[in-house]
């Protein structure tokens, strides 16, 4: 028990750190949970009233898995968790103390955010987006032993939830204080049992958040380039925004321009084309399709960029701005 306490404390500290870094993701979760809650209350309200073993003063938990989980959990563990929870709350800053502190046990759902409760109590299944399909199945098989009756419902649930997951809403409007308590518990519960999966998922989320507004699909590609290359593309991308008439497809082959292509300006006349066609033209007659001038000497060495030797970010952006004026 003593050693257990120690490890748990360490765990919770770790979780607390993670939590702070991932707060924006949590806000999104909260919103998603609100949607899910709506859906759940429509479908499953009768189921939960019967099964929930939480204190009678709390509203019914709209999730069978959750209530089952609660019932099954050993008292000892609960106590431990209680302790950790306090610990974490204290450490984590006081943003969400208010209503949570007053409740006798942290399991009694807050009226303010019942949805968080749903995702919180059970470490798998209902806590949704961090759980992959494989995990869900695993969980499912685990539960089959205990009570067969619920499995089907539960599966339907899991499917619906995982179907719900792929559209994260980037706009988070729910205040932080609402989101915090439930998510704390989520963190703890999952930290105990699946720390790795949780962490990985959260990192992915965070990356999404940070980079989604910009060129997300291009990221991995840019990462693989040397640093100077990266800078060069960034400058090009920036300059590109000033040009309204950027074609979406290559005028030569009519294929869609990818971000690399659309930031590629081989000629001062501003005629854009994909790298592939540019290479083919260089092999044949080497003249810009837009102005019919020869690429290499006239364009002032910008052909070099096409061959993977960026002259400098500065020069490229200059050429871009020239073409935007033209």
């Amino acid at each position: 028990m003593g050693s257990d306490d120690g490890s748990h404390a360490a765990m919770s500290r770790d979780i607390g750190r993670r939590k702070r870094t991932n707060r924006s993701a949590k806000l999104k979760q909260c919103k998603l949970d609100a949607r899910r809650e709506q859906w759940l209350s429509q479908v499953k309200s009768k189921d939960c009233v019967v099964r929930s073993r939480t204190p009678s003063d709390s509203p019914p938990l709209p999730h069978p898995t959750l209530s089952k989980e609660l019932g099954r959990r050993p008292k000892e563990e609960e106590e431990e968790e209680e302790e950790e929870h306090r610990d974490e709350v204290g450490r984590d800053g006081s943003s969400f103390h208010g209503s949570e502190e007053g409740s006798p046990t942290h399991r009694s759902p807050l009226p303010g955010c019942p949805n968080n409760r749903i995702s919180s109590g059970s470490s798998f299944g209902s806590s949704s987006r961090s759980i992959s399909d494989a995990e869900v199945e695993e969980d499912d098989s685990e539960e089959k032993g205990e009570d067969k009756g619920e499995v089907e419902d539960w599966e339907a649930f899991a499917d619906a939830l995982s179907a719900d997951q792929p559209n994260p809403n980037p706009v988070a409007t729910i205040p932080e204080s609402t989101a915090a308590p439930g998510n704390t518990i989520t963190d703890r519960g999952e930290g105990l049992e699946k720390p790795d999966a949780k962490q990985a998922v959260h990192r992915a989320w965070r990356q999404d958040d940070a980079f989604r507004p910009r060129s997300l699909p291009n990221l991995s590609k840019q990462r693989s380039f040397p640093a100077s290359m990266e800078r060069h593309y960034a400058a090009a991308g920036w300059a590109q925004h000033g040009i309204l008439s950027t074609p979406s497809s290559c005028p030569i082959c009519y294929e869609d321009l990818d971000p690399t292509d659309s930031s590629f300006l081989p000629c001062n006349c501003g005629f854009r084309l994909c790298l592939f066609c540019h290479k083919r033209i260089l092999e044949v007659d080497g003249r810009c399709p837009g102005c019919r001038k020869h690429y290499a000497p006239v364009a002032g060495g910008e052909v070099g960029t096409a061959r993977g030797m960026p002259p400098s970010a500065l020069r490229l952006s200059r050429s871009c701005s020239m073409s935007s004026r033209a």
């Binding site: 005028p251 030569i252 082959c253 009519y254 294929e255 005629f271 066609c277 083919r280 033209i281 044949v284 007659d285 003249r287 399709p289 837009g290 019919r292």
Partner: protein
């Protein structure tokens, strides 16, 4: 070459979209060969070719669009820049001034423009060129009009 085929397919789609937009041009792809196209163009107004419909044959190289399509008139036309017998067209954009950015559609437009603005200084049809170069615009117009009536307009009666 796959690139030319892909591009021609795309142009085919574009043409079908654009049909209503440009009523003077009708581009038709050969049923079995996407490298063979036929175009019907209307003679531009206020020219001796007005009222005529001229048929063009496109033969597209495999390196298209890096190389220009070969175009010739199937319909007889009296024009300084069109060979009277073969229908070959002397047009810079079909030769050295070709740009891959051109399309079959834009080539048709260029040919219509050429019909309205002949270039007597680089003639394929010497008779026609000589008429214009000697300043006999009336003679040229009347010859061109006659051939348009003969070859490019539906027969009367």
């Amino acid at each position: 070459m796959q690139a030319s085929r892909a591009r021609l397919f795309k142009e085919y789609k574009e043409v079908h979209k654009e049909k209503a937009v440009d009523p003077d041009i009708q581009l038709v792809c050969d049923d079995s060969n996407i490298y063979k196209w036929t175009a019907l163009i209307k003679g531009p107004s206020e020219t001796p070719y007005e009222g005529g419909v001229f048929q063009l044959a496109f033969s597209i190289p495999e390196q298209y669009p890096l190389l220009p399509p070969q175009v010739r008139f199937l319909t007889k036309i009296f024009h300084p820049n069109v060979h009277f017998k073969t229908g070959e067209i002397c047009l810079d954009i079909l030769k050295n001034a070709w740009s891959p950015a051109w399309t079959l559609q834009s080539v048709c437009r260029a040919i219509i423009a050429l019909m309205a603005h002949p270039e007597p200084d680089s003639p394929l049809n010497c008779d026609s060129g000589n008429l214009l170069r000697s300043g006999d615009v009336r003679g040229y117009r009347s010859m061109a009009r006659m051939y348009t009536r003969l070859a490019a307009m539906p027969k009367k009666g």
